[in-house]
């Protein structure tokens, strides 16, 4: 995934389409995340001012949702499902192996809806069924 470089003006351009959106905070943070790969600290006040809500409201939403990140993206985003259906086919040992090999790039997820072809993982947005460390390594950058 390729992300744009953050700047205040680039951020404001992303917010603009949501000016008249009812309940704009989450959807605009999601848009920032998509554009820049994360939500920089200074964006919190910018979003708050833009939509005339408190910084606490924006911070609250930012910290509630797993998808939203305050730190820049790592080279690879590896998500491994550790929910029950994937546990039943060994996702916990896959998770351990992946974390050992790829460290902080690996994040736990609860379910991709691929429960009959587990263990499931997603590498940089690409879903992998019957995932193995080899398949995941092959999909990485």
């Amino acid at each position: 995934m390729k992300y744009a470089t953050w700047s205040k003006s680039a951020g404001l351009a992303v917010l603009e389409p949501f000016r008249d959106e009812p309940g704009p905070v989450l959807i605009s943070l999601q848009a920032l995340q998509r554009e820049f790969g994360y939500i920089p600290a200074e964006a919190v006040a910018i979003v708050a001012n833009f939509f005339n809500v408190s910084r606490a409201d924006v911070h609250g939403v930012l910290t509630f949702y797993e998808d939203l990140s305050s730190s820049p993206p790592l080279p690879n985003e590896i998500h491994v499902c550790i929910a029950e259906a994937c546990q039943a086919v060994g996702s916990r040992s896959l998770e351990k192996a992946l974390k050992l090999a790829h460290g902080e790039q690996v994040r736990d997820v609860f379910c991709f809806g691929n429960c009959a072809l587990g263990p499931a993982a997603m590498v940089n947005g690409v879903l992998i069924g019957r995932a193995t460390p080899e398949k995941i390594a092959a999909a990485m950058k």
Binding site: V61, Y65, E66, L68, E84, V89, C111, A116, G129
Partner: protein
């Protein structure tokens, strides 16, 4: 010119095991041999152990080959698969596959047949009949039909859809909303995703009928962010539906207006709870609301709101086109119609099984599922997602319907059935249920927020063999507090997997020190 027509699912599960590679290879080899073919990216039939499942139209039949890998494609050409030639991976006419032929597909009748975004295919297979009929009925009549059908909320709560709709119909407001809950977060469930990816017009039609019935003009489908393909498909389908007049200012030339959009979740399980979902759509933290007021009275932005699951809305076109009596002729007792079961986990033949309520658990997991993937015996089956109960093979006579499962200490939930072999340790699973709740709790009420962490700690004590009898008593006491004291189903149902594991697998909670260091 009649080109050979080849179907390779574009469903994300099929793609996750190489469907795109198969398409690339078929395209490449067909070009090299100068054979003209048409490749259709259909939805999946939900027969996952055969994915990627390649189908070829041969006369009236669709001859299937699966599971196919990119490397198998050259062999398919050698076997003349475009004419239905024999091959070791050939399964014959797909619809004659006993696994599919035995099912009673109503909500899923079109899933896997065609290009999900072809409106002409949709109409050719019975689409829009329900919507056209609904436009000739009054809101009262539509609601009465849905009520008469016995359709209950397929998201898990099982509340009669018609009653919810009537409440919104009767509510006075300048603006009413429909919210479709596609935040399918339960592990072991994937029917919403497959339906949205494989037959999105059915959901759109069902929502349009509901909108006409209750007088709603705005609809939102809240889809989890873990389903990027479903979100893209649904957005594309909405645009096509607008072009064909299914949505927008004058639905199919009538005076009804209904607009639909997709909202993506952001990785929170509790946002599948209906009031947390409303908060999330309003752009806030997904913290549950106290009820009352019911969302049907005061829902999204304080307006009367129908909230139903994808499968609930998607069952409506069939009910309206064929009538309530046809639908309710299926099922048992007060569980009428069909349920879309989903077989997952350690299962040999996993996928979508739609059939009338009342099939036994054993028929599902042994009959359809064919046992475990690993070949070891089945030890446990979890029904209804992470908040559902664990059952053992002793419970295989259990009838799969709302009431029977409730009576057995479980719940149907969204119809997910997850199978585990003998390697599973139910004390670890019980602890996981508490840990999951601790991670995903919205934090509003104490029993859920704190109880889940204390629960995980207490089960850890049991696992390590400390004061086992006293800790089990404490755990049951905590479960009671969480069940009775939590604001929503997140904390209220987390005790279900824990208690069922203790009851159905007592051995896993005894003599733990022997098995752990």
């Amino acid at each position: 010119m009649n080109f050979a027509k080849v179907f390779v699912p574009g469903d994300s599960a099929a793609v996750s095991v190489g469907a795109d590679d198969v398409v690339a290879e078929i395209t490449r080899l067909a070009k090299a041999a100068d054979i003209q073919i048409e490749i259709v990216r259909n939805g999946t039939r939900g027969v996952f152990w055969l994915e990627p499942l390649v189908e070829v139209q041969v006369g009236e039949k669709r001859i299937g080959y699966g599971p196919i890998k990119g490397d198998d494609v050259a062999g398919l050409f050698e076997a003349q698969f475009l004419k239905g030639g024999s091959h070791e991976l050939c399964i014959g006419n797909v619809e004659d596959l006993p696994w599919l032929a035995k099912q009673d597909r109503v909500t899923f009748r079109r899933v896997g047949l065609n290009d999900p975004l072809s409106m002409s295919d949709y109409e050719a297979h019975g689409g829009l009949i329900g919507l056209r009929r609904a436009l000739k009925l009054s809101g009262e009549e539509i609601v009465a039909e849905v009520l008469e059908s016995g359709l209950r909320g397929r998201g898990g709560a099982g509340f009669p859809a018609g009653i919810k709709w009537r409440t919104v119909l009767d509510a006075q407001s300048d603006l009413k909303y429909l919210c479709c809950n596609a935040d399918e977060g339960d592990s072991g469930t994937f029917a919403d995703r497959i339906l949205i990816e494989g037959d999105p017009f059915t959901l759109i039609e069902g929502m349009a009928i509901a909108a006409i019935a209750v007088g709603a003009t705005q609809g939102i489908v809240y889809t989890r962010s873990e389903y990027p393909t479903a979100i893209a498909k649904l957005n594309a389908a909405i645009a096509i539906a607008c072009e064909h007049g299914l949505l927008g200012k004058n639905i199919l030339g009538s005076n009804f207006e209904f607009n639909l959009k997709v909202r993506s979740g952001a990785g929170s399980y509790v946002c599948g709870e209906e009031t947390a979902m409303l908060e999330s759509i309003e752009g806030k933290r997904g913290v549950v609301r106290s009820k009352p007021p019911l969302p049907a009275i005061s829902g999204l932005f304080g307006k009367p709101t129908v909230i139903n699951n994808v499968l609930t809305f998607s069952s409506v076109p069939a009910i309206i086109s064929e009538g309530a009596s046809a639908y309710k002729s299926r099922g048992v007792g007060r569980s009428l119609g069909t349920q879309v079961f989903q077989l997952g986990g350690n299962v040999k033949c996993g996928g979508i099984v739609e059939t009338g309520f009342g099939i036994t658990l054993g028929e599902l997991v042994s009959g359809y599922g064919g046992g475990t993937l690993t070949g070891k015996p089945i030890k446990a089956v979890q029904i209804g997602g992470p908040l559902g109960a664990y059952f053992s093979p002793k419970n295989f006579d259990l009838s799969m319907d709302y009431e029977s499962l409730l009576a057995a200490g479980g719940m149907l939930g969204h119809g997910g059935v997850v199978i585990f072999d003998t390697e599973v340790d139910l004390a670890i699973q019980a602890k996981f249920a508490m840990e999951f709740c601790a991670i995903e709790s919205c934090g509003k009420c104490t029993p859920c927020r704190l109880g889940s962490t204390r629960g995980a700690e207490t089960i850890q004590e049991i696992i390590e063999g400390h004061n086992v009898a006293a800790n089990k008593k404490l755990l049951l006491d905590l479960c009671e507090v969480m069940t009775d004291g939590s604001l929503c189903a997140m904390g209220g149902l987390t005790p279900m997997p824990v208690k069922s594991a203790m009851i159905n697998f007592p051995g896993d909670f005894e003599n733990r020190s022997a098995v752990t260091k």
